[in-house]
Every structure is written in structure tokens, then in C-alpha cells.
């Protein structure tokens, strides 16, 4: 049985007709072509499929779109502001926080939610927030470094201009540079 669902995904309204049992992860990947969201276990164990619903991280493999009528979904494809990367994306790229990159979208979104509620979280607080996102490549070290760097840049940006500075809002996609 299919049902009609209205969602806002990455600021775009979406009108969908999907089977009721289809998970948000499946709808994002298969119906909307947003393959940036990955499946790691489909049992809610690894955090890989994390997306934001009204700014809160949720596991899209356990969420049913029928229960999310009218909600605002953000995936990794919605993090950049046009061609301008989110400071977290910029910092992850610069510091080598993405190795195989498979867990990266989920980690980025979890970190985005954290930084939206706490401007400069301590390292232990970042660890706690990311404890539900498994990564097998990095040992988490460079991920933590990158979240700290992004937090610092974002708060500096807010302090200097009361808004996003060039530093805070990241470089244009594909800009290469050395480590800050």
C-alpha cells in the first residue's frame, strides 16, 4: 500500500507516493536520489545513515516517512550553502577526517546538530555526541580535530561580523589548500 507524504528535504518541498513500510533511508536514496546518506547496518546500530529532522539527528534506517509528515529533513547534500561548503565540511576535508568517507555524512550531520546547540563544545562533549557514529578508518582523532576547528571558525565568524565570514562559512567546493 502506498501513501502520500509531504516532506521538506534540503529546503525543497517533496510530494511523495511511497509504500508505508519504506524507511526514510530508502526514500532518500531510492526515491529522491540522495545517495549521500549511507546504510551501514539498517538496524540503528552504527549511525551511518544519520540525517537531521527539524535539526535533530535521527537514524534514517529506523524512521518511517509516514511519521514525518511535514517535517524538515537535512541530508549531507543540504549542508553546503549553494557552492559554499559548511565549515564542518571544509574542516573535514582539510584535516583528513574522511578516509573511506562512508561514515562521513552521518558524522557531519551529527556534528552540525551539536554545533547548532553548543558553539564551542569541549572535546569530551564532542566525543559523547559522536559516540553513536561508528568510524573504522580514522580512530576518530581527525574527526574530533575537524569538529573543533569548525566550531572555532564558526564562532569566530559570528563574533567578527555577527554573521558568516568567509572563514566561517567555508571555501568554495573544490578549493584546495593546506592544513590550517
Amino acid at each position: 500500500m502506498k501513501t502520500r507524504i509531504a516532506l521538506t528535504v534540503n529546503d525543497q518541498p517533496q510530494d511523495l507516493l511511497v509504500p508505508v513500510h519504506k524507511t526514510l533511508l530508502e526514500v532518500l536514496r531510492e526515491d529522491l536520489g540522495l545517495t549521500g546518506t549511507k546504510h551501514g547496518c539498517e538496524l540503528g546500530e552504527c549511525g551511518t545513515c544519520t540525517v537531521l529532522v527539524d535539526g535533530e539527528p535521527i537514524l534514517s534506517c529506523l524512521a518511517l516517512p509516514v511519521e514525518l509528515q511535514g517535517r524538515r529533513i537535512t541530508t549531507v547534500e543540504g549542508m553546503a550553502d549553494g557552492a559554499r561548503l559548511h565549515p564542518l565540511q571544509q574542516a573535514f576535508a582539510e584535516l583528513g577526517a574522511a578516509q573511506c568517507g562512508y561514515c562521513t555524512p552521518g558524522v557531519l550531520l551529527t556534528a552540525q546538530a551539536l554545533l547548532a546547540s553548543e558553539a564551542l563544545p569541549a572535546r569530551d562533549r564532542i566525543k559523547e555526541a559522536l559516540a553513536g557514529n561508528l568510524c573504522r578508518c580514522t580512530g576518530y582523532t581527525k574527526i574530533l580535530d575537524a569538529v573543533e576547528l569548525a566550531a572555532l571558525r564558526m564562532s569566530r565568524g559570528r563574533a567578527s561580523r555577527g554573521g558568516a565570514s568567509a572563514e566561517a562559512s567555508g571555501e568554495m567546493i573544490g578549493t584546495t589548500g593546506t592544513r590550517a
Binding site: G40, E45, T48, E94, Y102, K127, L130, A131, G139
Partner: protein, 813 residues
Amino acid sequence: MSAGEKHGFSVIGQPLPKLDAWAKVTGETRYADDMVLPRMAHAKLLRSPHAHALIRRIDTARARALPGVYAVITGADLPRVKFGILPVSQDEEALCTERVRMVGDAVAAVAAVDEETAEQACRLIDVDWEPLPALMSMEESLAHPEIRIHEYGDGPNVHKHVALQFGDVDAAFARADLVREDTFYYEGSTHLPMEQHAAVAQWGADGKLTLWSSTQTPHYVHRSLAKILAVPGAHIRVVAAPVGGGFGGKLDPFAHEIAVCQLSRLTGRPVKIALTREEVFYVHRGRHPVLMWIKTGFTKRGDITGCHLKTWLDGGAYGSYGVASTFYTGVVNPASYKMPVYKFEGARIFTNKPPCGPKRGHGTPQPRFALEVQIDKAAEELGLDPADMRRRIVTEPFTKTANHLTVTTTGLAECIDRVVEASRWRERRARPRARGARKRGVGFACSAYMTGAGTAIYWNAMPHSGVVLRADRSGAVALLCGATDIGQGSDSTLAYLAAEVLGIAPKDVHVHPADTTLTPVDLGSYSSRVTLMCGMAAIQAAERLRGALFEAVAKKLEVPPGALVARDGKIGVADDREKALPFAQAVELGEAMHGVLAFPGSYAPPKRAATFRGGTMGQSPCYSFSAGIVDLSVDEETGEIAVHDVWIAHDVGRALNPLLVEGQVEGSVYMGIGEALMEEQVFRKNLHKTPSMLDYKSPTALEMPEIHTILVETDDPEGPFGAKEAGQGPLLPIMPAIANAVYHAVGVRIDEVPITPDKILRALDQKRRGGPGRVGPEKLPLLAPREPLVVESAFGQPAAAVVVRPFQTERLA
């Protein structure tokens, strides 16, 4: 390379972001499961619920009748050819025909309109099983020779049995002041890549097959498919999609890859399969559980007089890389310390469990654990500091080991000095242990690892790695190489090397990896071989291209080619910046002079393997070295361990990109902590005990200590700009350093991994009752020893003065 040239690098040594970093942080990277093709069908495999059973009959009629099902196949629909990654262990079937040997063996495959229908169809396949007794441990397999898992091997249920002796171990022990005999057990663990294996096959109307797969070894998959499907290899193209984590788990040709090819052939549609997380646990090929006995003689000063090691590997149901794994449990240990005499006996036993194979460190973490914990015990008995003791006995550079490995550069002494200094080892060692119920301890260990296996999986005289570089009139350079980027950054590293030689930016190098119709062969992302082997091939190709460009530019500028340099996007006279042409213009001149500018680079390891049987195993162009110190605390009431800090110094030869090297070192430390404290692939009632990411414990961000990484550079003559491996070696010291730190903290010896709270409590309890305070193996398997191959020890002999490196004789300026 002189110190001046060392500082003259423009790309090498810079902490640059990876070329694919931008795609990875935006979700743009397309992994195998992200591919969608028109008319694509979805596949599922029916897997055995039995650990050991005969297949009497398979009836697929009900499945075929299900609406939405395009095709159902069994082993009868495939050529009856067995395969396996090693030529000596061709023992697998994509879809088993007569017998299954483990839970998870595939017996049928379905292609359907969607995954759900395919899964439903699998449930409608009727299999008539005749269960056989399952052998679930090495002891059981050896005790029941009447039940044979395979008919081949070195004895009933013995896949491989090797024995090598280099010098007289008995005489060496007679010379020793202290001889220790210890037994250790290293539990198996699995890779647990975040990406489950996935593959898409498209058998086109032209009769040609393309397979996109999350594989670390597209070349071997290519060869295997030709054999298994009985199709000319010339009509098969294998493309490695970006791999979402490998660690050795995607190195074999797999049933699902073969099944989708055949399903695509039968349905005329592209077919995709994505394994579930549970399937990935059963596919496995991870760390072998290894039981070890090690006897080592020491002098009062801590010199090793000789060592005798026996290993028993629980191989699981198939050969996989097992023959190599068996050798690797013995042959690499001698590279780190002076060990004049050495004897090794190893046996791999078949059991009815998922096959083990290569996981990061392939066969070497287990014996390294045994050796490093034993040295810790010996140091205590001899009254020596464990770091000082090792520092005295590190191997000499450019010498051979007892078992004929050639060690070129070694930075192990510097690694030891650097971690000892950075961690303030002596202070930490001497500080008071107690802090309430928590006791602090520090432990030390070292390691050595290969930078690429010296021989290919199948014998041949061809390059192990190849690169083709093509310069475009725009100034772009295309780099074609069979290398597979599994997250380690091989695409980027190749671009850095080519950019360095050509004096252009890495962004101007377009890397086209791992496509068997387009790219020269690289054997695969295993044995830490890619940076060195592909790197050397890339440098050779870039030097050839640069030579052609210099010739054309020299003519234009009317200077000798020898006066030119390539730097900052220009080719010109070294000390006259006016006399230089932009790179793109140099390419135009070059193309006008030479025609199309496309140059190959090839690499095969130096020929210096010993000639005795098995003498190629463990041979590598050069070895990396690591030293690690772990600071942890143990809660004596709960047995819980908290790792606080890890100092790790790694001899990487040269850090081509320190950011990427640090990432490899940190990831290795992480994976080592997981193996040391929690990860275990174990079975109960024939089933995997923890086939989910919740139950299979792996470290989260919360369990991770601060990692202090120190990179040591030794500029090895065998490596590209002196580089050695970084992806595997730094894992090795972690497990023994943790075991040694636990002993330092609470005085109990856990002679096995994982070191879990229950084992610590058991050992503490034992100690309180006056026992030895040790948890570890008590018994060794009953297997008649094999007569060893006796070879003279090559210990201390100088490395060959002249090294013949095939394909690398001609080096253009």
C-alpha cells in the same frame, strides 16, 4: 637524496587534503551501492543455515513462479569450476553444488524487480539438506580425521603445515642465560568496514561484461571471473568503485560478485547486490584465531640467542589467503630484533566456520603479540627496562635476518627513543600505581611490517604495478593506474608523486584508478604495497614524460635539457626564471616533437628472495617499524580497562603527506585497541555469536585515548622518495603494549586477546588465592610435528650490494 633536495620538494611532505576529500564531505562519492542503472534488477543470495551439510536437492520452482522474479540460479547454472584467491587453494564454489561447509555458504541466487521480492523468492527455494557433523574448533577438526572438510591439504583437516629452521635452536637455547616458553592465544576478529560489500554487473548486449564492485583487488576478480564464468577475460571489465572501508575484507573474489554477473547474463539486465550487515559478518576473511607457543633464549644483557615459534591457525571453511597467512605468522617477526637463530612451525586447520584471511597486519599481529609479551616477561626476569632491552637489540640496517629477509633502513631505534622521550616513559613507569580501585600502568611494544609482498599471488614475471601518464595540451595530466583507493588515499598519493616530478599542482593530475580495461594492472590494495609499488611506477612514468618535455623545451629555449627544472607549473632554466615556459606550452612543444605524450611506468620488487621453498614469503622491498607506549588504568573491582594515552612512533621512510600518514597510524592504533579490548569473531551453536554492529563491540569515540603520533623518516632507497608503508605496521604494537600495561597496572598476565574485564577479574582472583594470576591457553593442539626444512641462518649478512629491480633500470633525468 641529499638534504638540499629533501627541502626542495614542493608537494611531497605537505599536509594537503586528499583529492577526493571534497567529494567525500558532500556525499558526491559514488560507492558501488549508490549506482543505479536503467532496468536494473536486485539480487539476493540464499545462504546455508547449516555449518556442514550435503545438498540433496534444490527446488527453485516456487521462487521462479513469484511475480517480479526475473531469474533464479543455483550452482547447476554455473560452470563447475572451483576458485579461490590463491592458485594452491581452489576450493570455493560461488553457489555450492553438493556440500556446504559453513553457515552462510551461498547455494542459490535470485534476481528480481526489487530487493524485497528477491528476498521473498529466496524463502521460497526448497533445499533438501543432509546435515553433517560440524567441526567448530581446531581441536575438533584434528580429533575427527574421519570427517573431512576438504580432501586436499597437508593432512586431514590440515590446510597447510609448514616448518622452517634457520640455524641450531637447541644450541642457541643452551647458550642462553634465560629460556622462556610461553603460550598465547589471539582471538579472531573481523574487518567491519562501514560499507557492506556491494556489486553491480552489466552483461551488455555486445556480450561483454562489466562489474563494478567494492573490491580491493579488481585484477584478481577479473582473472577469477574469466575462469569461473568460462568467458574470455578480454570481454570482462572490472571496475573497483570507491571502497567504503576494506582492511582486507574485500580482497577475495566473492560469491555475490559472481552471482550478479551470471544473473545479468541470464536476465539481460544490470543486476545489483548489496550484502546485509549480517552477511558481511559471515563473508568474513578476517583475523585468524591463532594459538601460539614460543620459546626464546635470552642473555643476561637481553640479547636474543634464538627463537622457536609454533602457531596453529583456525582457518575456517576455505583456503582464502590462508597459506600466506600461515607463513606470515612466522616469517616477519625476525625483522625487528637481532635473532641469530630461528625456527618456525605453522599449521592452518580447516573448521566449519567462515574462512579467515587477511585483516590489517595479515597474520603478523598474533605472533607479534606473543613475542612482545614474552620479551616483557623476560625483561622483568632479567631486571631490564623493557624499552632499553629492545633498544639494544634492534636489527642492523642493510642486513639479512636469520630467515633471509633483507632489512634495508630501520628507524626502530629512533622510534623507541622518540616514544620513550615523548611519553616520559621512565617517570610513568615509576609513578605510584594506585588511584583508588583504579590502577595505572604503562606498557611498551614494537613491531615491523612489510611494505608490499615481494611476490604476486600467482607466479609471473610481469610488473606488480603499472601507471600510464598522458599529458594533455591543456596542461592536465591523466594518470591511469590499477590501484584501488580504499580510503587510504592512494589516488591522491599518486597525484602528489606525479605532480612533484612534473612541477605541477596535484589538482592538475586526474587519477583514473582501478578499471581493468583502461588501467595498467596493480595487484591490489593489500600487504601495504600501493604507495611503494604504484608510487615507483608513477615516478618512472612522470620522469619519462618530463624527459620528453625537457627535450622539447630545451630545443625551444636553446639550452641543454640538463639545465631544466620542472617547478611551479613551469619548465625552465633552474636559476633563470625568465627562461621558463608554462607546463601546458611545454606539452604542446613536446607533442609537436614526439607525438602523443603517453608514458608507462612499471614496478616489480627487487629480486633478492632466498631460493628455499617458502623463501619468498615475508620478503618485501623494505620494512616499516613502529614503537608504541600505552598508558591505561584498570579498575580492580570491575576489571574494566580505560586507555588514556597512546604514543606511537612509526618509521614511514618518508611521509609523502604527513596528514594521510597520521590518519593511517591513528586508524591502526584504533583498530589495535578494538582487537586488544573487545573485538571477537566467535561462534556458538554453529552460529556467529555477534553478527551485528551492536553486539560485535568496536571502539566508539568515547573509548578512544589521545593518540600522540610521531613520524620517523629514514629515506629508504627502495621507496618512492624514500617512503615505506603506514597502513598496517602501527597496529601491531598496540595489543602487546596494552597487555604489558595491564600487567604493569595490576600484576596479572592476560596472555590472550581480547583482554576483557572477566579475564582480568579471573586472573586477579586467581592471584589473590596464591595462583599465578594468568589467563591464557593451557593446552596445545595435538598435531604431529612436521620435519622442518633446514636452511642456514643468514643472520647479519650484508644486504646485496647491487639490487636488480625489474623495469626500473632505465631512469631518465
